[in-house]
Symmetry: C2
Subunit: 315 residues, 2 copies
DNA sequence: CTGAGATGTGTAACTAGTTACGTAACTGGT
DNA sequence: ACCAGTTACGTAACTAGTTACACATCTCAG
């Protein structure tokens, strides 16, 4: 095993797979020669798909063998030149180019079958002697990645580690600027800032906290990266509002954590339900609310011109 | 799984490995981006080998990561241009170019370590959930191939199947031409044909069979592809001579089978030992005899000018 | 000490794939 | 009937590696 793989750990799995696959493939040409099959190893996948005499289009071949159509197009061109296959336009559809083996191509079949039988037997043998069956291992790994690909898994890991660095703290006056800045930022991005916004953002203590509300600040490595407010409408009913997360911290799922934190606070304060008003235009936000458990309701008309949707959740 | 792999069986293992490895690698760039590591994924192996601050030559790097030195040379050139590493001639030896990370390169390390930790954990997790551990499976497979590579194994399989088609029959007059042709062919290739050759080859019945000897012909798909003679020197002592295999059938191990066949015949006829005379120049032949059990002896001087070695085996 | 062969590196040309793009043919809604 | 979008294909340009070759430097036997 290469020094790299000894030291790198399994993070280099992809690299190792590719390299090992290539080293196996390197022997292929000698094998073809041994059996007298007059074929370039890279033709193998195309040849194999056509070997039972069927005709296939370029695209169908590409799909079946996992290459780009461009690659298949080139391979077919070479094979045609070597007299191994031929192609013709299919009558019904002037676009598709149907490819099939020529007689000469079919003549390779007998030798090829002998070869593939032997190779199969050798590989089968090697696999059987291993504790971990390489073929099955790939199948299993691929299957797992089909459910959720590698990148998503890594992203989740990344996110959950980063989220551990996020803390939520109660509003203090020193956060007043951060609170308004974060909100002005996103409101200005999608709408015009309205008077009703300005009032609350500039005097949160007066309009939110003193009326029994609550404001949380999200801190990430001691930077304020998000904020959210609970406005008290009655002892049992709070409004979730002024949620804002800075672009620099997007993608860490801070919004979600912040939201859950707010629901928890509402619950602790005796709230039974939390509602919010938003705009269907803000798809990511709406999805976030849904994920938090909010469901659309028909509520009383809102003083905000941009409000088209109301949602609620019990806590 | 692709249709190709479903149908092809495990003969396409190499192809599948490479393809799967590539598909994993394709996600790498996004991962680097996610963690803010300013690095081209293809730099990874070089970066990794240098990450502990050590200096390495191009060739040493190439060896460690399993690339050609040319590839490493290109990667280092790119990394140098990006300011990630630098290289300088080593004082003792004007040829070697020692490469190490720059400060900027080392700055990537922290982020890289975070990333590799997460990736490692995710892959480890996936492997642990599989019945067949992909990483271990490759290690095992590689280990097996180290002992004997894939091509050798296939060749053996091929050979043993082809050998089943070889039959040995006793000399008849209809084989007289084949017997002499096969021998003249190889003798002429290495030496001048001598009178003592001519006598026996042209009248095998008289000089070999009638004196209690034996001649076998090797048939492969009804073609005579080889021959060999036993010359009786005494009731217990035979000479193996006139062994010839046609070029068209080389590589199938026919010589070996033919030799064993002759020893068997000698044994059945009451022989206790078989000797032969040959020339050290004919390395493949000598190796073949060794494989059959023959050992070098010092014997009586031979009438053949080309004979430099005598070998014997008990049967 | 000197010349033949080995070693280390860089560059050029090749290889087996890819993505990007252009063109022609088909399809489906008005 | 038509045109906007989709599909099939081929070609060109790119990519990440390779092998082949050129060249400088080193090593060591005579």
């Amino acid at each position: 095993m290469l020094k790299l793989y000894e030291e790198s750990g399994k993070m280099a799995l992809g690299s190792r797979l590719r390299q090992f696959g290539e080293s196996l493939g390197a022997e292929a040409e000698k094998v073809y020669q041994l059996y007298g099959v007059q074929m370039d190893p890279k033709w193998f996948p195309v040849f194999f798909m056509l070997k039972d005499g069927s005709c296939m289009s370029i695209t169908a071949l590409a799909e079946a063998i996992g290459h780009s159509h461009a690659s298949v197009s080139k391979i077919v061109k070479e094979m045609t030149k070597a007299g191994m296959c031929c192609s013709e336009k299919v009558p019904g559809d002037g676009r598709v180019n149907q490819v099939c083996l020529t007689e000469k191509g079919k003549q390779q079949l007998e030798k090829f079958q002998r070869q593939s039988g032997d190779v199969e037997a050798v590989v089968q043998d090697l696999l059987a002697q291993s504790q971990n069956d390489l073929w099955e291992a790939i199948t299993e790994f691929e299957y797992q990645l089909e459910e959720k690909n590698l990148f998503s898994r890594i992203k989740e890991k990344h996110q959950s580690r980063e989220q551990a660095k996020v803390k939520f703290v109660e509003f203090e006056d020193k956060y007043a600027k951060a609170f308004s800045d974060l909100n002005y930022e996103w409101i200005g991005k999608y709408f015009d800032v309205e008077e009703s916004d300005r009032v609350m953002l500039d005097a949160p203590r007066e309009y939110i906290l003193d009326n029994g509300g609550y404001i949380a600040m999200a801190l990430y490595e001691n930077e304020t990266v998000g904020t959210c407010a609970l406005i008290k409408h009655s002892d049992e009913r709070y409004e979730l509002a002024k949620m804002a997360v800075d672009d620099s911290a997007k993608g860490l799922g801070i919004g979600y954590l912040l939201g859950l934190h707010m629901l928890e606070v509402a619950n602790k304060r005796g709230g039974k339900s939390v509602f919010l008003e938003s705009n269907t235009k803000l798809t990511p936000a709406i999805n976030l609310y849904k994920k938090m458990g909010f469901q659309r309701i028909v509520g009383e008309p809102s003083p905000y011109a941009r409000c088209y949707i109301q949602m609620e959740v019990s806590v």
